[in-house]
Amino acid sequence: MLQVSIYRYNPDTDAEPYMQEVEVDTGGKDLMVLDVLELLKGQDPTLAYRRSCREGVCGSDGMNMNGKNGLACIMPLSETVKGNKLVLRPLPGLPVIRDLVVDMSMFYAQYEKVQPYLQNDTPAPAIERLQSPEDREKLDGLYECILCACCSTSCPSFWWNPDRFIGPAGLLQSYRFLADSRDTATEERLARLDDPFSVFRCHGIQNCVNVCPKGLNPTKAIGHIRNMLLSRAT
């Protein structure tokens, strides 16, 4: 029997959050954490969490498993369970709506700030804007982000200033458009980032890199943005 300790909070009935201790029969199989949650939900339908694709694509089941953020659907028990114990908490730093469901508004507000869409003020060509294979390659490691928020909610700078620091996920997307050869708004994008908070709250702790379930590297992208700001100003 696997010992599971799970964060519970229902604002309608609970005065404050508490950890619920439950046992789950995994049948000796190396299940994914999401499978364990489904088993638990079978026993107690009031348990709330988000999930959709169950294969690491939609990014909806980001949570904190034994102290580390990740996607429950692609996290095998063998990789996270220590001493037969699994501790599940919501993503840190965001307001909890219920149980493992957090309010992502602040995360999305930062994402919106970087204007995550292609901007080009030149006349549109008849068919499509072309890009050389080399230029396209620059977007690898950037476009794959599924906005699960595992990175930003593991970043201390984002915990303290979620309203002013864009955070690793937003900055990765910011660089995704700064690096795009078809985007012509580079100057405006950079001008909006040159304050003491948006980019420069990153202290390079690399918590974000450590947790990204897609193996992306926001710290590196942030470094590129910093270099672009530096060459723009010198």
Partner: protein, 121 residues
């Protein structure tokens, strides 16, 4: 764009660059003094005084002192704006942060003038 009147240069890039440049100056100064102590393990007051009274050394010391001030300002400003904020503690956060930041500036000013007095006095 998030602006802040209490940061060093109001631009994130400027603060960041200042932090790096002053760090290099402080490192160089520490290494120089470290080397001096390694080669003069039984340093006497006279040797020390002779070193510190040379003009290049005076300039270097002053530069290090100014760097320390800037470095501390930017660093502490970052710490204060992490933990003492309106979001975390309401208006009290802003008041406390401002008081601490002014205090910090005052201490640095005193050290600077005092340092100049020691070096050139």
């Amino acid at each position: 764009m998030v602006t802040a009147v209490t940061s060093m240069g109001r631009s994130g890039l400027y603060d960041w660059l200042m932090q790096r440049v002053t760090a290099v100056v402080l490192l160089a100064y520490t290494l120089c003094l470290g080397a001096f102590f390694v080669f003069n393990s039984d340093v006497t007051y006279l040797q020390w005084q002779e070193l510190m009274s040379r003009t290049p050394m005076k300039i270097f010391s002053l530069l290090a002192l100014i760097s320390l001030g800037i470095h501390a300002w930017v660093g502490l400003w970052s710490v204060f704006t992490d933990y003492l904020t309106e979001r975390l503690m309401g208006t009290k956060g802003n008041v406390m942060r401002l008081i601490l930041q002014v205090l910090c500036g005052l201490v640095m000013f005193v050290y600077l003038i005092w340092g100049i007095q020691i070096l050139w006095g």
